[in-house]
């Protein structure tokens, strides 16, 4: 079946979407060389900078979170494909500062390779750069080696807490400590109902029967823990949350951040019905939910499904999570 999308030339998807985004948020973000996104008003140089990278096709991620209180720059690749290492280096060079830069990398092989090469170049040139790898997917098991666990939507709240820390003037060691603490205490699971079309090739990125769902599916259709019969919202919420709470070892009295991220074709109606179940289970167990994030933050085209991310929060993380930010797709007043 022919692809049914509002596009022009499949070869120009990334260029056109980035131009549109930059035009829409001209006062906030600035597009450089087609695939580098910076804040329109740069952060003062005495504060730590936050940079990230990733393929396109997941909008508003990742560039939608460039702005005050979150990212300083994002480096965009082609659809579902990592940006080239020299571009990542170019972004690191552009935000270069004595205060230091933290590069946030989601665990996907192309992103990791480009980052490693860019970091090597940056260090050779004496740039003060640190990095952190998000790998909070627990589909292969919470105890699986980090290399097998993907970076999913958990990068978004991580940008938020680390970005707030940087904005408050934390030094690079403390910004990294906040980011690492959040990283250690978060876990994500994805569930898919229907596939998405790769907008460059027109092909479905995976197959799933009409009456089935798959828990653990990655954001490019990477296999999860096997397909199963479709469950209700309450059953799905419980099945996912049980595993997530176990992974982060949440117990009564803990504060927990919940992110429900729609994959592209799952309605807010469904997400709220799922959140209701999540909130009830947490209350049952004496776990205190912290202001959750519910909506579309890291999408996979028209894939139906969602990612559920939880993070065990201490008081400092809660404060940073609730600190002001002003980006195209996340604002806290």
């Amino acid at each position: 079946m022919a692809m049914k999308k509002f596009i022009n030339d499949p070869a120009n998807l990334t260029v056109e979407l980035m131009e549109g985004m930059a035009l829409a948020f001209g006062g906030r973000i600035r597009l450089d060389s087609g695939k580098l996104v910076f804040r329109a008003q740069p952060k003062p140089r005495d504060k730590v900078a936050l940079v990230t990278l990733g393929g396109a096709g997941h909008e508003p991620a990742l560039s939608g979170f460039v702005g005050r209180g979150m990212l300083d720059a994002s480096v965009v690749g082609e659809i579902f494909a990592a940006p080239a290492a020299p571009k990542v280096f170019q972004a690191l060079k552009a935000v270069e500062r004595e205060a230091g830069t933290l590069l946030v990398v989601l665990n996907h092989s192309g992103d990791v390779m480009s980052s490693n090469i860019a970091l090597e170049m940056a260090r050779k040139q004496g740039l003060h750069v640190r990095s952190i790898l998000t790998h909070e997917d627990i589909a292969p098991g919470a105890g699986a080696p980090a290399s097998e666990r993907r970076g999913l939507v958990g990068c978004v709240p991580l940008y938020k807490v680390a970005g707030a820390a940087a904005e408050e003037g934390f030094d690079i060691d403390r910004v990294c400590a906040v980011a690492e603490r959040f990283n250690r205490n978060m876990a994500t699971l994805a569930v898919a109902l229907r596939t998405a079309t790769h907008p460059s090739t027109g092909q479905a990125i995976f197959e799933l029967a009409e009456d089935e769902m798959e828990i653990g599916m990655g954001q490019h259709g990477e296999a999860g823990t096997g397909s199963m019969k479709l469950l209700t919202a309450d059953e799905t919420a419980r099945a996912m949350l049980d595993r997530l709470l176990e992974a982060v070892q949440a117990k009564a009295g803990d504060k927990l951040l919940v992110v429900l991220n729609g994959a592209g074709a799952t309605t807010l109606m469904e997400l709220f019905i799922v959140y209701r179940a999540v909130h009830r289970i947490l209350t049952e167990r004496g776990i205190e939910p912290v202001s959750p994030l519910i909506g579309e933050y890291l999408t996979v085209q028209e894939m139906a499904g969602f990612q559920m991310c939880v993070a065990r929060m201490d008081d400092e993380l809660v404060r940073l999570w609730q600190a002001p930010c002003d980006t195209p797709y996340l604002k806290v007043c």
Partner: protein, 220 residues
């Protein structure tokens, strides 16, 4: 016939390898459709174009030529293929002696350095159905050939043959990396497009030398 590789030989090798990758664009995409998202031919065409573009600039030495090709390839947005192939070429440059003519031993040292830089980018091992299944045996064949005192063209003939075998061997392997991994046992039965690309690269390297020299060198 113990002639070494000069700058023009190396440029010819890169040019021929790039042309061969471009000529096989559809084949590579077809192979990728069986296990991945069907864009490997497109990506490798961009990689090849980056190599060709780097050849247009005049560089002072063989080492600079390889370095320029490596950077050019790294600049391609293409998931994993560009950092892997780019790192291989950059590694070759790092392992390349500054002399104006490369012996079989020099070439083998450059290839080994390229392989080391490639391996630094990925945890993949031989047998995981990746580019490495063609690259590792190719470099090993060149090393053995050089240790036996064979000149670069003979060493590359053996490397190309080993790469071809390596790429073919991936047909019966199960993927452990990339999107092909999702398919599990269903990834068996189709060659890894990345390994085939590496095989084409070495075939191009060898073909350029075989065409340049008289009599044409052929493995009997």
């Amino acid at each position: 016939m113990a002639a070494g590789l000069c700058y023009a030989d190396l440029a010819g090798m890169l040019r021929e390898a790039a042309s061969l990758l471009q000529a096989n664009r559809d084949l590579l995409s077809q192979l990728d459709s069986a296990t991945g998202d069907g864009d490997h031919g497109t990506t490798m065409s961009l990689v090849a174009a980056a190599i060709l573009e780097s050849l247009e600039a005049v560089t002072p030495t063989a080492q600079a030529l390889l370095e320029s090709a490596g950077w050019s390839v790294l600049s391609v947005d293409g998931g994993s293929a560009s950092p892997l192939v780019g790192s291989f070429l950059l590694g070759m440059a790092e392992g390349c002696p500054p002399s104006s003519e490369l012996s079989g031993g020099d070439l083998a040292a450059a290839l080994e350095s390229g392989l080391a830089k490639f391996r630094a980018q990925t945890p993949a091992q031989v047998g995981d159905k990746t580019m490495l299944d063609a690259l590792a045996p190719a470099v090993e064949a060149a090393r053995v050939a050089a240790s036996q005192g064979l000149p670069p063209d003979r060493a590359l003939a053996r490397a190309a043959e080993a790469a071809r075998h390596g790429a073919e061997s991936t047909t019966s392997l199960q993927a452990k990396y990339g999107r092909a991994r999702n398919l599990g046992p269903r990834s068996i039965g189709s060659a890894d497009p990345g390994a085939v690309s590496i095989s084409l690269l070495f075939r191009g390297f060898h073909a350029a030398l075989a065409a340049n020299r008289t009599p044409p060198l052929q493995e009997r």
